[in-house]
Symmetry: C2
């Protein structure tokens, strides 16, 4: 983690350890020992692949390597390395040996690389391998830390970012579509615990839409093991009905979103959350032009609106959704919103929108929605 | 461009054409004809590589292919394809032929692929090529549109997004560091014309910092050919001096940023801009925790703060900066800010910050800064 202050780093590392342990417990991964040292976490286990796979979903981890542990004795390092090379390097392919070393030893890192490389070539002669330091097919890495050594051939990407819980809680408006879960995941990756809020627009949306949102939330929570898995489901059909019937059609979506922000702000208060996250991207919808985002912002006066997808292109959002595991759920058939107008305004005037709201008693609509909100644990 | 409404699409396409023509003119790229048809722009030129390279920097373009134009006569298509295959496919490698066809012809797309593939194998027998449809080393693509055909072997990635100017103008707080130019570029890619504002903190920053910011702006403007290239440089040293000497040190950075927002808001008014863009990412600095972003937001009450990097990891931002062309400029040696405290607050209280501001006559500081602002064309 790229943290500047030593004090903050220590706090973050402690939190990361807690999140890692919770993940292992949740997945019922057995381990004999877990140790944090010099920016690395070492876990001794009989199921390294199983453990590694779970840890690729823990924020704050940049990479995971299932490794063989041995002592810093050079003979043992060579023996372990040859064994791993035999198990992982394909016939006729190229390899490289890398070594990182901390502590005092009778050999240099370079000695280790040379000696291991030589022995791999000799002992696995039947495999017809060759060394390629610049662009090898496989890499055997040896990390020597004082009396211990770790040998590995595989490194899995972690999500990076900061440990969950290192930032305050935020509310996330989750529709279940492609964008909002990605926005949610991005702030989780920066350390925020999120509370998803789904606005149920029935009868303008169907039950499958609610199910889809809950399934998306469930998939997201696979990235936040050890934290609450609750979702607010707020009745929203009555609101949308009022907007469709009693206000100019071209601003329906803006009125709809503005009341969503207000509801989210109320839930933020209750949850002690310090912001609202949405999946909006500039120009992605008529309601998401720069002008209309300004009109939307005004509705949530106290709580900042965070829009991590502001500058994303649709294809980038979709790719990230695939990686997160929400894409297939979000692209399930949906009826779409039955309240959306044919010609939505792209440059609404704030005064015009507020005037429409005044005629509708928006405050009461918010009250009613909040009162009938359910909290569901998924 | 993924636009839903036909009406909006037409407007965007017209704007894109204008931006393309401006880019060609600016680069002094000669062309004989430019034509927009069915979601494609065709440019007839003697310098296809030169033209293609410039267009990879025009927002709204998803890809560019330097192609040979021929007629839809199958014999001519084959002749052109073999010529291109000869020029681009390496000896001993694999290739595939793809064909897209619009209009009425005496052959099918499949016929074209088969016939071209056969002739390439025959005519270039000395090159020892083989066909691989799933994972070819090279691809010859043939696009047939009514009476014309286009043959190409290379496709360059464009930046995607929407044409510059399709969204309103925004102000961008540009420090010259790695983050702010990337944030700026991301909103440009979504269609916003940006006006960079540099707050000159001298004597807390040195002249090289101002130069760096102007150079970064210059690099960014390479992506907005045809639009103004002006940068506001606002004196900020007096402000920072007041914060350092007369306010609690742990909130210096928050006071500093809040006044930057206020200055940006004033310039937004003058420029008729509808938002302020910053390079902040959650937790990247002490001033960028979720709690502190809330404190910052309050300073710009009228103008939304857009933070496209909110959920970016540092390494992602750096990679994008390299692609944009600002990384090398942003990573030039900088003295850093001489006003930053050792122990900045990560959870500041808004009341505490506002109280400190009241004692400083922030309003007057903003006035003085704005009055002495310079507009520089780079």
């Amino acid at each position: 983690m790229g943290i500047k202050s030593e004090w903050t780093r220590r706090g973050y590392e402690k939190l990361l350890m807690k999140n890692v342990e919770n993940t292992l417990r949740h997945r019922k991964n057995k381990y004999e020992k877990i140790l944090h040292k010099r920016g690395r976490i070492y876990i001794r286990t009989k199921n390294p692949d199983e453990v590694a796979s779970g840890l690729t979903r823990v924020f704050g981890i940049s990479s995971v390597s299932p490794a063989k542990e041995t002592s810093s004795d050079l003979v043992k390092i060579i023996k372990t390395s040859v064994k791993i090379a035999d198990a992982t390097i394909e016939k006729g392919s190229s390899f490289a040996v890398r070594c990182r070393r901390v502590g005092t030893h009778t050999y240099s890192s370079m000695d280790v690389c040379k000696e291991v490389g030589k022995q791999v070539l000799t002992k696995l002669k039947h495999k017809n391998l060759h060394v390629n330091l610049n662009n090898p097919d496989s890499t055997i890495t040896i990390e020597i830390r004082d009396a211990e050594a770790y040998v590995f051939a595989e490194t899995l990407h972690g999500p990076g970012g900061f440990p969950l819980g290192s930032q305050p809680k935020v509310i996330c408006l989750l529709s279940g579509g492609i964008d909002s879960p990605v926005a949610c995941w991005l702030v989780m990756r920066r350390g925020c615990v999120v509370v998803p809020v789904y606005l149920d627009a029935a009868p303008f949306a169907d039950e499958a839409d609610e199910q889809r949102a809950l399934d998306v939330a469930r998939a997201l929570f696979e990235w936040s093991i050890g934290y609450p898995r609750k979702v607010y489901v707020v009745p929203h059909g009555k609101n949308l009905d009022a907007f469709v019937r009693k206000a100019p059609r071209k601003i329906t979506c803006l009125l709809c979103k503005r009341i969503m922000y207000r509801v989210a702000e109320r839930i933020a208060e209750r949850e002690n959350a310090e912001g609202i996250v949405t999946g909006e991207a500039i120009g992605e919808q008529a309601s998401q032009t720069i002008t209309n985002l300004m009109v939307l912002n005004e509705a949530a006066a106290k709580c900042p609106i965070h829009r991590p997808l502001l500058g994303f292109d649709k294809v980038e959002t979709e790719n990230l959704a695939r990686r997160i595991g929400t894409f297939d759920i979000s692209t399930r058939k949906s009826g779409g919103c039955g309240g959306a107008p044919d010609q939505p305004s792209t440059r609404a005037k704030l005064d015009f929108v507020k005037e429409a709201e005044e005629k509708l008693d928006v405050k009461q609509l918010v009250e009613d929605s909040i009162e009938r909100a359910k909290v569901i644990t998924v």
